[in-house]
Symmetry: C2
Subunit: 657 residues, 2 copies
């Protein structure tokens, strides 16, 4: 389906160019090269294909546009201004890159409507778009073509295709046959260091074809060629890559085609030359009515399509279910978790928290129909597949479990896309140490406020023989360091269930569950209705006349409890604080925190580095944990070797009192 072709497409594209060069010039900062180079491709895409309603920017069945080359942010700001998004008036364009403006240096999700995700870190856009396109198929399988039938369009640059994450994304999309994913590669042969041939000689079309993609090339300044390629891409059942041969900074006659035009203002002289070259006679930040009219026609067509869709939704038997999925609330979860917790407290299983997580998922996934699980090829180790889950395949998207392959980074990015698309709650697992591999996507989730859930198992030297490459020691600290990420390390099956309830009900904060490989006893044998894990830290043992406070997380809470018993036998009363989530504890009222931590000396116990414990421990307090990398040996030998034992806690406590 090709939409109307307006006669002034070249003028519409030049409006993008003018706004880009003028805004960058005014800010004295920014990247004019990409918006000017890709203006024709973007104009054709929006003018002839994109189905969006700027008056209803969250319309569930809109096409998605992802600017993977996020440094070209003026492209999307200019387009959204021209389309008439209410929050993108000309004052915003003038305030490009200034404090408080919606027009941040790179597109920031949540700052303005019509920005589907935050981009800038290269490769993230193309990898996240796989999640968008996957979510579209998952939703389509559930609700049908009437309600879900849209495309995900991506503009990616050379940098995006050089980043490793692009391989994970391309392989995954090709394998899943995500035919509604269309990537337009800004093939301008320029990177910051110079011509692309300085650093790469991969045949990108052959590379994409090797992963099962439909590939084409076109002149990125020829509207009819662009349109024909996009139309063919839409028709092909495979994901499509279009190599759009462009001239970076097109329109700046003396600078276009070179790498100087990438990331610096053109300067007044070159901007004047560009105006002459393009025949653009208007003042800076002035757009003629006929150009607005061309762009507004796109918005009107979108609004019309949206109205038809609203009619189909109103008539759909799936309406309630569809709207509930979009809303994201999980009303059935609370009661289910409470009943499950009661059972756990009564039965007190001794299981690894990764196993407890799988047990919790049996409950969670039964109560949350929008849950989409997965693992980066560690399903049997992460225990992320619960009872009755069905694997998603290229032939059948009705399942709810994704085999992400050995692709931690691509998984985390795809989860961002699934969550941002809406309608689903994604979680995915790998070994905790490999959180390093997906860190850029986790950071983006936190920055965007995407409530993805990371199931990170094998969380310490407790994993044993695999040794230091597989043993996290700094990963609790470095995960807790990411702003707006909840890191939860539960001590037993009950805390694990509570952690899942927190994770699944989070709306704007991603959650990282940090789980043991080794078995742990159930410590919470007294049932509480309240989710104590959500308090971040709480007194698990609260003796009369406490003399010292032992604070521990995860597998080390068992050690703290044992040490407290041993101390008690010697007449020393130790409280034990289980502290599964530092971030949640920091959000508690000051008096609660003071009551939990007490006035006396404190010892932190965690099979990890001390960094990050300063919220609990002062210079005078003690810490039992790791001071460097781990080693390869059975877990009990490692705990003894690194002196993370109840005996060590007792000795330190006695020395401190």
């Amino acid at each position: 389906m090709q939409m109307n072709v307006t006669p002034n497409e070249k003028l519409m594209a030049n409006a993008i160019r003018a706004l880009a060069m003028d805004a960058v010039q005014k800010a004295n900062s920014g990247h004019p090269g990409m918006p000017m180079g890709m203006a024709d491709v973007a104009t054709v895409l929006f003018n002839r294909f994109m189905r969006i309603d700027p008056a209803a920017p969250k319309w569930a069945d809109r096409d998605r546009f992802i600017l993977s080359a996020g440094h070209g942010s003026m492209l999307i700001y200019a387009i959204n201004h021209l389309l008439g998004y209410a929050d993108m008036d000309m004052d915003q364009i003038r305030a490009f890159r200034q404090m408080g403006a919606r027009t941040a240096g790179h597109p920031e999700y949540g700052h303005a409507e019509g920005i589907e995700m935050t981009t800038g870190p290269l490769g993230q856009g193309i990898a996240t778009s796989v999640g968008f396109a996957l979510a579209e198929r998952l939703a389509n399988a559930r609700f049908g073509d009437d309600l879900v039938d849209h495309y995900t369009y991506v503009i990616a640059g050379d940098g995006c295709l050089m980043e490793g994450i692009s391989h994970e994304a391309i392989d995954m999309a090709g394998h899943m046959k995500l035919g509604r994913l269309i990537v337009m590669w800004d093939d301008n042969k320029i990177t910051i260091d110079g011509d692309t041939e300085v650093a790469t000689s991969t045949d990108q079309m052959a590379r994409f074809a090797a992963s099962g993609w439909h590939v084409q090339a076109c002149d990125g300044h020829d509207p009819e060629a662009i349109a024909a390629a996009i139309e063919a891409a839409r028709q092909d059942p495979r994901p499509s890559m279009i190599a759009c041969r462009t001239i970076i900074g097109f329109g700046a006659p003396n600078k276009q085609g070179g790498h100087d035009v990438h990331g610096a203002p053109l300067g007044a002289e070159e901007i004047a030359a560009a105006r002459a070259f393009l025949g653009w006679t208007w003042e800076p930040f002035e757009i003629p009515a006929e150009v607005y009219e061309g762009w507004h026609a796109i918005a009107r067509r979108g609004a019309e399509a949206h109205a038809h869709w609203q009619g189909r939704l109103a008539a759909s038997p799936h309406r309630a279910e569809f709207e509930a999925a979009q809303d994201g609330a999980v009303p059935a979860l609370g009661p289910a978790i409470e009943a499950y917790k009661a059972k756990l407290s009564a039965e007190a299983p001794k299981v690894a928290t990764r196993k407890a997580s799988q047990m919790a998922l049996d409950v969670v996934n039964a109560a949350v129909p929008t849950s989409i699980g997965g693992s980066a090829d560690l399903t049997g180790s992460n225990l992320t597949k619960s009872k009755g889950m069905k694997s998603v395949t290229a032939d059948d998207f009705s399942g709810n479990y994704i085999h992400y392959g050995v692709r931690e980074h691509g998984m985390a990015a795809a989860m961002n896309g699934i969550a941002l698309h809406g309608g689903f709650k994604p979680y995915g697992g790998t070994f905790f140490v490999f959180s390093d591999y997906c860190r850029p996507s986790i950071r983006l989730a936190a920055l965007m406020g995407v409530p993805a859930i990371y199931v990170m198992t094998h969380d310490s030297i407790g994993l044993g023989e695999d040794g230091p490459t597989h043993q996290p020691v700094e990963h609790l600290a470095v995960s807790r360091a990411i702003p707006n990420l909840s890191v939860i390390r539960p001590a037993d099956a009950v805390e694990t269930a509570e952690a899942w309830e927190m994770a699944m009900t989070s709306r704007t904060t991603p959650t990282m569950l940090v789980l043991s490989r080794q078995n742990l006893p159930t410590l919470r044998t007294a049932h509480t209705s309240e989710n104590l894990t959500a308090k971040g830290a709480y007194l698990m043992r609260d003796p009369e006349g406490r003399q010292i406070t032992l604070i521990a997380t995860g597998s080390e809470v068992e050690i703290a409890m044992k040490a407290a018993d041993m101390l008690s036998a010697e007449g020393i009363e130790a409280a034990v604080v289980s502290a599964p989530c530092f971030e949640a504890f920091a959000a508690q009222p000051e008096d609660y925190r003071a009551a939990v931590l007490g006035d006396g000396p404190r010892i932190g116990i965690e099979a990890a580095l001390r960094m990050g414990w300063d919220a609990f421990l002062g210079r005078e307090d003690g810490f039992i944990g790791m001071t460097g990398f781990g080693a390869s040996a059975p877990a009990p030998a490692l705990y003894a070797h690194f002196n993370i034992t109840a005996e060590a806690v007792v000795a330190k406590a006695k020395a401190m009192i």
Copy 2:
């Protein structure tokens, strides 16, 4: 050049299989599938091609063997035992995965000879091997075929090829035409979650070919086919990939070919069946003399080749230079840096520390002929290319600057390989925030003790308009969290010069230089011969009767100095501590640290999160810094917005006193 073919290659391979299954069984932990599946390939490789001298494991011109699929560690342990490495006796094999054994769960660099690098995190081996192969060509260009003429052989699994970093490595190796890099892909069609077709459908041969590789496939259990493929790979001028079609766990008749054989002991029954199937009649950990004889013949041939090479070295006009490069000492650097520091203190330039780094590199690179610079496509931003540096290309390896492309992860891994190969000191730059992209390779450098140097510029909100995706806030904390990594954030040009001296003279610790985008004044205007940065922290302002201590790093030392002046004007005496390297300070004597930090209240000042400052600050001390993500605006506006100013320090100091 094909070496002798001994008649008992099958027996030699079965010895690997027997040791792998017996050691894993005894440890009750480990991965028998890969060693058993790739035993034939590895045997042919070693028997007919590898040129190594187990009696001189560090021989500079040896072939390198990289086990990228590191979970198959028993393959290399078995081989090194059979070859007669002195430190790999049968007791080590019996102690597989036990505390203190050289036979760790995954191969650990430095634990035993003949292990060229630590592997286990997937994809790292193949990406690091690019650095090995690149270093070989760099050295060859300098010293000729007589001294440098060896191959880098890699065994990689499906996981290695699914990881994103493999794309960066393959693209880079193809672009550089590293013809002496030969990757043998263990094409067994099995990953942990099941058949590879569960998660991938990339045509790997087409993919490698798209990046300029020579590709072949062979039956991985047919010695002649394997040998022919390796020989063809050696002859081809491109890097080569051989798809070795194998059966995982080959020899275990009831389990081979399935994913259960990947990562668990076979069990006594299946081991007995395998012995029968393979005709292996010896007891566990028993190797017949004829098998040893086959493997020892390889070692003897290698020793002979080594002796010839020693003769060539003795006769070479390059001998002194070659040996100095191998040794790695940099005697000319100290005097050069001292003279340069004196000039800096006299001239007091106001420059960004990234610019100061480039100025220092003019000195460093003139004094250190083994220095190999580079950047991940940010040469003009990182300022990593100093006067007279020449770019390395596929046609000319005599240069000393590498355009790594938009490949931070691949760069960090390649730097590990260049350093591990020996003869060179690699450094490479990117934006500090993108240290996230290369974190797994940085961690490996720290774990292995590889003195790579990371030039991380644009180190805080001080980079301004690019916004929160580009502004590090947690990255100082998370970098300092990595054990055995020196993180240095210099305050001015003098500290930057000292930081480079530390980095270039480090032998077993990687260094991360964290540098500003914005200009900073020279604070160290009084010349000191001593490298004060190497003390980690020192008093930059030490007034009589100090009442409070301001501790700052990098760009915030200027703020601290200004605040101290303002406080002094109000009659409050503040000391200022510049703390460029927390790790170095922690290594100072306790009395030095106490003298620097003083007894009074302290305020830390850093445009980053507080995490990691607990070595300096107690619960009662103050901190001026960030509490979350940054924003897009000019840098001065951001410092004011986030209240990281001298005025804020003064207000806090007055409140604390």
